[in-house]
Symmetry: C2
Subunit: 414 residues, 2 copies
């Protein structure tokens, strides 16, 4: 079997999954949730091989932790699948409809894409999350997880396939191209006609490679150089709690704060206390000249700090002369993920909302809220930072396309 | 000035156009409509250069006709711009919104893409149509028309820029990379960060090149190997009028019929009269063995006929054993544009609607209705045959992205 053979299996099974009703799809998901728990020892055995190989290959402690599955985490995977069961099925929903003057009835309905390709790194939870979301939205899925999780994913894909089969749905609707390594990913990127959409999830480098090399349509995700701007009128307490929450609550994710901009006129009022709170939370500040002059603990920033997605307890800090300068800095360095302004000035707030060209633009809120779960989507495919198809957190609805149904009685065009 | 310089001019002007209100954008469009008529002689002079060059270079009569502008056609261009003025402005529309339990107010609003790149062939009307649609939807636009229309487009782009300027909007929001020829198109395809979305319009070859080579997100358009299936229960008169209308009314466009499938059990009842009507309308039938046995005038079909988008008065005809065989043929050869079933069997109609994986699927209607104008969109950017972002006829709404606005009062994530 080649990668193309495997993709063809997915493609051939896609129409059956696309026409499955909600009960069938939920039955498959329930079977998958049960099997995850039942086969715990098998999953952990596979995972142990990956962890051992990781240790041998010098995989970082952080990545080892992401990779590791235990009884508690496997139960969390099953719970995540059951949460997807509880979400409404988007397939068949009417998006729009009208009857033309000639009597033609037009209806635009949601349909699955067909086959979704996903290229991601060694995180077993992504395997289950994405496959469950794909099944719920009637899509077949071809997975390419990181090599470091290969043995774990092999068992998980078996569980997914067995769950589908036990509900009378095609087991082939979940496929992995992991046995082909990087070549599998490259072939997926070329597989026009077999893969309808490709979603890369992971590091900025991985995403960039997929976006620039793929001939299949891609939904770009992640990668957030996220900014917060403390305006002249920003409340001090709010500035402290929002900056700390956005940076510290979970620094390793894409909606965490990376650059703090501070209005010059309020730098003396805000910066010392905001900086103290951040430093007390373990944050290293990389400041511009003016910042370093105000905050003793800050290290001087270099150009790379303005483009850094640290994923760590580091924060770039810059004093700017006004809102215009903040908007300019953001336009230059933002990855168009999430930006937030802290202000009591309504006009500035609305200008920021209007002019910042990002997926999510906030006023007086922590950037950590850019998240499918927080937005009420129940589960998240990723955060789209591109403008085509989906922008911002992507849920089940973003895994669908649409088609027009036209019902006539012999109408011809004149 | 290089192509990149020109794209930067468009990019820099995009925010101003994006924040222009409906009245300003309509004033620019009205100015453009007026200027088109006022500068008729200048436009015709430029067009004359292109027509003369076309004659010299052996441009086909058909393409020369598409290229040619006269007083009547220029007035039609102005009328098309005024029709776009009358369409509702999609920018700022709320797509969805909710207030979270913590009080955060979320609002998803329509925003322009930013800069739309368009690569098309020598049709001056596309220059005006696309630029007017882009302006109305708040988008800057970078155009690459065919070299054969270069002199015409030069004047038209000047008219577009002058119209924008006269309404106080940035003239730079309409740009052409025509002076750089093919290199201009290639650079647009690479210009990530400067071009937000690329729309190719034209031949299957042009579209395929852009789709496979572009590193910028693409909306794939056009290219229709359109099928009609006469089911066992199809009404004879309806079959005749729909087949003739779909093939003959305007054979040179992508929604024209290219392959007629006929249920074996009704071939003797339907085919002779349908074929006679088609032949009397000047259509050449390329038939399968069974078709040729029934219809004397038909020429034997070869494999290429099933993949042909003739754009002419030619039609492939095949007798199939049943609905399943029709669905299989369509799955194999369709370009996922438009397919129609002619039937009196409700179950077959619904199965066809469900199972055919095309942008528009019809029952008892002419395929010629797949059109933005017919769908009530007022004007059309093209017909998307891909599944990402837009599928089927694209109007103003399909030239927009969205962004999430989040208004809070200091909420942090716990």
């Amino acid at each position: 079997m080649s990668t193309l053979d495997i993709l063809k299996l997915a493609k051939d099974s896609a129409p059956t999954l696309a026409s499955a009703n909600t009960n069938q799809k939920n039955a498959a998901l329930e079977a998958i949730a049960s099997l995850l728990v039942q086969r715990e020892s098998e999953i952990i055995a596979g995972n142990k091989l990956d962890i051992e190989a990781g240790e041998k290959n010098g995989l970082s402690k952080g990545l080892q932790d992401r990779l590791k599955l235990d009884s508690k985490r496997i139960n969390a995977l099953a719970a995540a699948v059951r949460e997807i069961i509880s979400l409404p099925d988007p397939i068949g929903d009417s998006v729009s409809g009208m009857t033309l003057p000639n009597g033609l009835k037009l209806q635009q309905v949601r349909v699955p894409f067909g086959v979704i390709g996903v290229i991601y790194e060694a995180r077993p939870n992504v395997t289950i999350d994405i496959a469950a979301l794909a099944i719920k939205s009637g899509n077949a899925v071809a997975l390419r997880g990181g090599t470091a999780a290969e043995n774990t994913n092999k068992v998980l894909v078996q569980v997914l396939q067995d769950g589908l089969a036990s509900a009378g749905l095609p087991a082939n609707a979940v496929q992995t191209v992991d046995p082909f390594g990087r070549d599998g990913a490259v072939e997926m990127m070329q597989a026009r006609g077999l893969v309808d959409v490709l979603i890369p999830r992971g590091s900025a480098n991985l995403i960039k490679t997929v976006v620039t090399e793929s001939k299949v349509p891609v939904i770009e995700t992640g990668d957030g150089v996220v900014h917060m701007f403390l305006d002249e009128s920003a409340d001090l307490d709010m500035s402290i709690s929002l900056a700390v929450n956005a940076k510290v609550q979970r620094p390793s994710v894409c909606n965490a704060l990376e650059t703090l901009l501070v209005h010059e006129a309020s730098a003396d009022r805000l910066l010392p206390k905001v900086a103290t709170a951040l430093i007390e939370s373990g944050v290293t500040l990389h400041g511009c000249e003016q910042t370093v002059a105000i905050i003793k603990g800050a290290v001087p920033a270099i150009e790379e700090d303005w483009t850094a997605e640290y994923y760590s307890l580091d924060l770039a800090v810059k004093v700017v002369s006004n809102l215009d300068a903040a908007l300019e800095h953001i336009a230059k360095y933002s990855t168009h993920h999430t930006e937030s302004i802290i202000t009591n000035d309504h006009e500035n707030a609305e200008r920021f909302l209007q002019e910042v060209d990002s997926a999510v633009v906030m006023v007086n809120a922590s950037t950590r809220f850019t998240d499918g779960g927080e937005f009420g989507f129940g589960a998240e495919v990723g955060i789209s930072t591109q403008k085509l198809h989906a922008r911002g957190p992507m849920g089940l609805r973003e895994l669908t396309s649409s088609k027009w149904l036209v019902r006539g009685s012999g109408q011809v065009r004149s």
